[in-house]
C-alpha cells in the first residue's frame, strides 16, 4: 500500500484516494517530429527497477495532478512535487542521491 503526500493540499493519501498516471516528464512530440520521437513519446517507457518518476492525481481529494519520486524495487517514496515542472526539483534529486548514490533516470541524475 502506497502513501503519498499531495503537494497541493498536504493530505497524506492512501493510494485508493489517488489515481496513477504513469511515467512523468514525458515530452510531447507532435506534427513535424521524427517517427522515432513520436513512437517513443507514445509507446516507449522507462521501466526501471529502482528510482522512478511518476504522475499521480489526487482524484478523491483536491483533484490535482502532481509528481512522485519512488523506488519500484522497495516501494520507498522519496518525495512528491508539483506538476508544473519539466524535471524533478533539486531538493528531490539531492534526497535521492543521499539514498541511492549514482542513480540516473533518463537525462536526470
Amino acid at each position: 500500500m502506497l502513501l503519498l503526500e499531495c503537494p497541493y493540499c498536504g493530505a497524506k493519501c492512501e493510494e485508493t484516494e489517488l489515481s496513477p498516471g504513469g511515467e512523468a516528464h514525458i515530452k510531447r512530440y507532435g506534427p513535424g517530429s521524427s517517427d522515432e520521437d513520436f513512437e517513443a513519446y507514445l509507446f516507449m517507457r522507462e521501466n526501471p527497477k529502482g528510482v522512478h518518476f511518476e504522475r499521480w492525481r489526487h482524484v478523491y481529494g483536491c483533484g490535482k495532478w502532481f509528481h512522485a519520486a519512488r523506488c519500484t524495487q522497495s516501494l520507498e517514496v522519496f518525495g512528491t512535487y508539483a506538476a508544473q515542472t519539466f524535471e524533478p526539483p533539486q531538493e528531490i534529486k539531492d534526497k535521492i542521491s543521499g539514498k541511492r548514490p549514482g542513480w540516473s533516470w533518463r537525462d536526470f541524475s
Partner: protein, 447 residues
C-alpha cells in the same frame, strides 16, 4: 544388480551436488538419458522403497560458451530451449535463471488456458499453444495435469454480449471452437452461480469447452527435465548482470557466475524485460506491474469449470486440492516487489461474492503477487531486437501461462531461422508502425 548400481550412483551424485562440490568424475556417471516415468516405474520404485528416483534435471556449472543462451527459466524460456533442441537440433544451450526455475510468474499464475482471442495472430499462437497442451504430458513424459474442463467468460453488460458475440464469430472463422451460451446454460454448467444480479446479472457467456487449467509448476519442471535430458545446462542462482556486445552484435552475457559467451541470446524474463533491455541499450514499450492471486481454504468440489467475470474484474476455478483459485486486476503503477496492493484483493473478492454468494463464508488461505510485463495493446512481443543475434520474448503480461508451448515453439523458430510465421506480427516495432494486435477486450481481465 544394475538397478542397485544405479541407485548408488544417484546417491553419490546427489550428495555431492547438495554440498556444491563439483566432481567431474562422478558427473560423467550421471545417466545420459533420463528414466521414463510410467505406471511400471511407480511399481518398481515402490518395491524398493522409492530409493531409485533420479533427479529430474542436472545442476551443472556454466561452460565458457554456448550456441544459444536463454535468460529466464520460466515456462517461456524453458519451452524456447526445448523447441530449439527438439525442432531445430540446437542442443548446446544454457538456460540461466537468477532464482529457481519456475519461480517467476510461471509458478505464480492461476493457470487458465484458453485461446478465445479476437485477432487472427493471437488466435493462431494461443490455439497452437492450447493444442500443444493437449498432448504435453505425453510429449514430455511428465504429468502436467492438463484439465480441459471448459472456460467461460461471463457477459454481465449489454456491451459485453456484443463483444463476446463478435469474438465467437471471429473464433469460428479462425477455427477456434467457442460459442456464446445463454444464462440458463451458464447456470447448468455452474450451479453455484447467481445469474440474477442485482448489480451484474449474467446475460450469457463466451464458452470454450476445450479451455481449462494445468499444473503450472509441472509445466516448468517437465520442460526442464526434457531440456536437461537433451544435454542442455539449466543454471539456477545465476543472474545475468550485463549483455556483452561487439558493436551491434551480442557476444555473451555477464552473470553472477562469470562471463559466458554465446552466438545467440534469447531474453525471456517477463517482468524484468525492461531491465535486460536496459543492459543491452534499448527501450521497450513495456511497463512492469504487480498482479495478485489468492486461494481460499479447501472445500469439497463445487465448480468444475473456469469462470471469468471481466466486468467485475475477477475470475475463479477450483484446484484439485479443493481451494478456490481467485485472481483479479493488476496494480496501476510500476513495481518490482512481487507484492501488490491490498485493495485489489478486496475489490476482486467483493465482486465475486456477488456472483458466487456461497464463497462469502470462505477464509483466504494464501495470497501472492507476480510482476507482469504489460504492453500497450495487451499482446506479447516475440521479436528480434536492435542488437544483432539478440531476441526477446516478453509482454505476456497477465495472460501468458496459456501460451507457453506456442510461444516457445515460435521463439525457437525465430532464433534458429530468423523468421517464424507464428511470431511475425508480434515484433517490437509494430507499435511505431501502428500495427497493434489489440486484445484489450479479450484480455479485459488479468488472467
Amino acid at each position: 544388480m544394475s538397478q542397485v548400481g544405479c541407485v548408488v550412483t544417484h546417491w553419490i551424485v546427489g550428495n555431492e551436488q547438495d554440498k556444491g562440490i563439483p566432481n567431474t568424475q562422478s558427473k560423467n556417471r550421471i545417466r545420459n538419458h533420463m528414466r521414463r516415468y510410467s505406471a511400471f516405474a511407480i511399481v518398481r520404485e515402490g518395491a524398493r522403497y522409492h530409493t531409485g528416483w533420479e533427479r529430474a534435471w542436472k545442476s551443472p556449472a556454466p561452460k565458457k560458451r554456448y550456441d544459444a543462451i536463454i535468460v529466464g527459466a520460466g515456462g517461456h524460456g524453458l519451452a524456447t530451449a526445448y523447441y530449439l533442441g527438439k525442432n531445430h537440433g540446437i542442443k548446446n544451450v544454457a538456460i540461466l535463471e537468477k532464482g529457481w526455475l519456475g519461480g517467476g510468474n510461471t509458478g505464480r499464475n492461476t493457470t487458465i488456458i484458453r485461446s478465445n482471442y479476437l485477432q487472427d495472430p493471437s488466435a493462431a499462437i494461443y490455439d497452437k499453444a492450447r493444442s500443444l497442451y493437449e498432448t504435453m504430458s505425453q510429449d514430455l513424459n511428465y504429468n502436467v495435469m492438463f484439465s480441459p474442463r471448459g472456460v467461460m467468460m461471463l457477459a454481465q453488460t449489454e456491451h459485453e454480449i456484443r463483444g463476446y458475440e463478435r469474438t465467437a464469430h471471429a473464433n469460428a472463422l479462425q477455427g477456434v471452437a467457442t460459442e456464446f451460451i445463454s444464462p440458463q446454460r451458464v447456470k447448468e454448467l455452474v450451479p453455484i452461480i447467481n445469474i440474477h444480479g442485482p448489480r451484474y446479472p449474467v446475460l450469457g457467456a463466451l464458452w470454450q469447452p476445450r479451455g481449462g487449467t494445468a499444473r503450472h509448476d509441472a509445466v516448468a519442471w517437465g520442460y526442464a527435465r526434457a531440456c536437461s535430458d537433451m544435454g542442455m545446462d539449466i543454471i539456477q542462482q545465476c543472474e545475468v548482470t550485463g549483455v556483452r556486445r561487439d558493436g551491434d552484435k551480442v557476444i555473451g552475457v555477464d552473470t553472477t557466475k562469470g562471463a559466458i559467451d554465446c552466438d545467440k541470446l534469447g531474453v525471456v524474463v517477463a517482468g524484468h524485460s525492461g531491465v535486460l533491455a536496459d543492459m543491452a541499450g534499448f527501450r521497450l514499450p513495456i511497463e512492469s506491474v504487480a498482479l495478485q492471486a489468492l486461494v481460499s481454504e479447501p472445500i469439497k468440489p463445487c465448480m468444475d469449470v473456469v469462470v471469468m467475470a471481466n466486468t467485475v474484474h475477477g475470475y475463479m476455478s477450483q484446484s484439485d486440492k479443493g481451494e478456490m483459485v481467485i485472481g483479479g486486476g493488476a496494480d496501476g503503477y510500476n513495481n518490482y516487489t512481487q507484492r501488490g496492493s491490498f485493495h485489489h484483493i478486496e475489490e476482486t473478492v467483493r465482486a465475486l461474492v456477488e456472483t458466487f454468494p456461497m464463497i462469502s463464508r470462505l477464509k483466504m488461505l494464501r495470497q501472492w503477487g507476480g510482476i507482469v510485463d504489460m504492453t500497450g495493446d495487451r499482446s506479447p512481443i516475440i521479436s528480434k531486437t536492435p542488437v544483432e543475434n539478440m531476441f526477446i520474448n516478453c509482454g505476456w503480461g497477465t495472460g501468458g501461462f496459456k501460451a507457453i508451448p506456442g510461444s516457445g515453439y515460435a521463439m525457437a523458430e525465430l532464433m534458429a531461422k530468423g523468421v517464424s510465421p507464428l511470431a511475425d506480427e508480434f515484433t517490437m516495432w509494430r507499435f511505431g508502425e501502428g500495427k497493434f494486435i489489440d486484445e484489450s477486450v479479450a484480455a479485459g481481465v488479468a488472467h
